[in-house]
């Protein structure tokens, strides 16, 4: 039982990380109707920013905050320069552009910081509690609290502030929102900036677990996609639940089906994602969308 409980907790820990990147994906999808395939690589770039600031002697918490702000600026710039020109084109084009961004950020990290693995300390205190035979790390608790804080913050921002309202207006109908005076392009820039900020937090959470290198997010982004799709791609709580489900199922299959081996581990979240898309494409929490003829 305690073995199961421990594996379950481990799953929650990694699930929370997938959920954080899933949140960034959902955020950008809700704010700009784009699925950003480069989200993970942008997060890895942000994690390198934290590492760089820390190398320059900035304390870890300040480095984290500085990197989040820098990442938000970069996210906004990326939208303004690269994504805006193609925003009204068909979906294929936008997917291709974000894949181009994926390649660009991946190799920019590699070119600037190299492919040698680096260590990034966890922003949380290294304490461990024992509770009925279960080991609960400060990292796990910190990650869950941070995640809850992000969701609450996003909820308050989108539902209870003026900028949240204008963001929602811009996302739901570009033309009408512009007619009532919403600065559409600025709202899109803010949306990309916010999601890059959440992505930076996710990078900061991933890097201490894996080691910091340019390719560290490539598998994480797949799990995050599975999480976001499971939750319906447009629901924050859906992304959290999806992330936790993916994390727990991954941890339990590794623990109880060792025959799958390290290579096939990735099949589990992918299988979940494909099954959800094939059976219930609107996800667990999403609404089905009508097409306009």
């Amino acid at each position: 039982m305690s073995y199961f409980g421990q594996q379950f907790l481990n799953g929650i820990g990694s699930g929370a990380i997938y959920a954080s990147l899933g949140l960034a994906l959902v955020l950008i999808y809700r704010a700009t109707n784009i699925v950003n395939f480069a989200q993970g690589e942008m997060g890895a770039f942000s994690a390198f920013l934290i590492w760089q600031l820390q190398q320059w002697g900035v304390p870890i918490i300040l480095a984290l905050i500085g990197a989040i702000i820098l990442s938000m600026l970069i996210g906004g710039l990326v939208y303004a320069i690269v994504v805006r020109p193609v925003q009204n084109r068909e979906e294929v084009t936008i997917v291709i552009v974000t894949i181009g961004l994926f390649l660009g950020f991946n190799s920019a990290s590699g070119a600037i910081w190299g492919y040698l693995q680096k260590a990034l300390p966890s922003p949380f205190p290294a304490v461990t509690w024992y509770l009925g035979g279960l080991r609960i790390s400060g990292d796990l608790v910190g990650t869950c609290i941070l995640l809850a804080a992000i969701v609450l913050g996003l909820y308050l921002l989108f539902q209870h502030t003026k900028i949240g309202l204008t963001l929602r207006a811009a996302a739901s109908n570009a033309e009408s929102s512009m007619l009532v005076g919403v600065p559409f392009i600025w709202m899109m820039i803010v949306g990309w900036g916010l999601s890059a900020g959440v992505g930076a937090i996710s990078g900061a959470l991933v890097a201490p677990h894996l080691s910091l290198d340019p390719n560290m997010m490539i598998t994480v982004i797949i799990y995050a996609f599975a999480a976001a799709v499971l939750g319906g791609l447009a629901s924050y709580s859906g992304a959290i639940v999806g992330g936790l489900l993916v994390g727990v199922s991954q941890s339990l299959t590794t623990a109880y089906l060792p025959s799958l081996g390290a290579d096939l581990q990735v099949i589990v979240p992918l299988g979940i994602m494909v099954a959800v898309l094939a059976i219930k494409p609107e996800g667990l929490f999403g609404r089905s969308v009508m097409a306009r003829v």
Partner: protein
């Protein structure tokens, strides 16, 4: 509605002069390709065989994404299916070059058909996500079934040797075999797409509901386009075996798919012959890019992709007609101006 009608009608009323011109161009290219082994070095022939194998696979992506509008990130999977099935049918069943390509084509068609079934229901980015899942599973799957695929170590493939009565080198023989299959694949696809099938593909892409209400079986179009395009990827994979003679799981990663997408977009994803440019791109650009900088090769790839989509959305070949038209307008205008100036002088 009108958009779909236009899309479905388009192609039926092309000016015959440009068609004749195009046919002449294709024949000239083919003649040049046939004569090439007389002057080219073995290494060039090896590279060109690679270009043609990639071009056939890229043509498949043009059919799936360019013509039918389905984003596929799983092209690496079908390329891998073709390569491994081709290699295994040679090693275990003793199939010759022809047999291995045919078996690879049949299996990858079937695989594409199965993968294309979710494509009926899913549009745009949801399909991209499903195909992403397929793309990422390829390398682990190959490694898992080590007993048949050779696992991480890879798989050696017997390269086709010329028959004893034919006095040409093995390089030339492989080049001609690949050329033969590539020519068949392009001819077949050209015929398929210039007929009603091609127009139903485009109609499905441009306006699905309208195409459906005009009597086009949209679901069938999507699945068939996916299966046919995957078959071309499989043929490309089997052809790549001929010249490379060795396959390993890591060469079929997601990066290969992204490379296919980038190359197809650069060549002109809505065209047939842009796939040849895509093949050249896939064969030469990665090595040029890594010559410039190992770490930056991805950035160069990504940069080319983004710039191409923004500046030249129809790719190199797709933008040519517009460039030529612009040039002709400029020439006509300057001629008109010259006449005007002459008239002025005469008056």
């Amino acid at each position: 509605m009108t958009k779909a009608l236009q899309a479905i009608r388009a192609g039926s009323d092309q000016p015959s002069r440009s068609a004749a011109f195009r046919h002449f161009g294709i024949l000239a290219l083919l003649a040049f390709a046939i004569a090439l082994p007389a002057i080219a070095s073995p290494y060039t022939l090896f590279q060109l065989a690679g270009v043609m194998a990639f071009a056939v696979a890229a043509l498949g992506l043009n059919v799936i994404t360019g013509y039918t509008g389905q984003v596929s990130l799983a092209h690496n999977a079908f390329f891998a299916v073709g390569a491994y099935i081709g290699a295994m049918s040679t090693a275990y069943l003793g199939a010759g070059p022809l047999g291995s390509v045919v078996i690879a084509a049949v299996v990858s068609f079937a695989a594409g058909f199965v993968a294309g079934i979710p494509a009926q229901r899913l549009r745009g980015l949801y399909l991209a996500l499903v195909t992403l899942a397929i793309a990422v599973s390829v390398t682990p799957m190959i490694k898992q079934f080590e007993a048949y695929t050779g696992g991480v170590v890879g798989f050696r493939v017997d390269q086709p040797a010329p028959p004893a009565w034919l006095p040409i080198s093995q390089d030339s023989w492989i080049y001609y075999l690949v050329l033969l299959f590539a020519a068949i694949a392009f001819f077949m696809t050209y015929n398929l797409l210039s007929g009603s099938v091609g127009r139903s593909f485009v109609g499905t892409k441009e306006a699905e509901l309208a195409a459906g209400s005009l009597g086009i079986d949209v679901a069938r179009s999507k699945v068939m386009a996916f299966a046919y395009g995957s078959m071309l990827a499989g043929i490309g994979g089997a052809l790549a075996n001929f010249s490379i003679g060795y396959i390993a799981p890591d060469s079929f990663s997601l990066m290969l798919s992204i490379g296919f997408l980038a190359a197809a977009v650069v060549g002109g994803i809505n065209t047939i012959w842009g796939a040849i440019i895509a093949g050249i791109f896939l064969q030469y650009v990665p090595s040029f890019a890594s010559d410039i900088s190992q770490a930056l090769s991805g950035a160069i790839y990504g940069g080319i992709l983004i710039i191409c989509v923004i500046v030249m959305p129809k790719g190199i070949l797709g933008s040519l007609p517009r460039l030529i038209a612009n040039f002709q307008t400029i020439r006509r205008e300057s001629r008109a101006e010259a006449t005007k100036a002459l008239n002025k002088v005469a008056n």
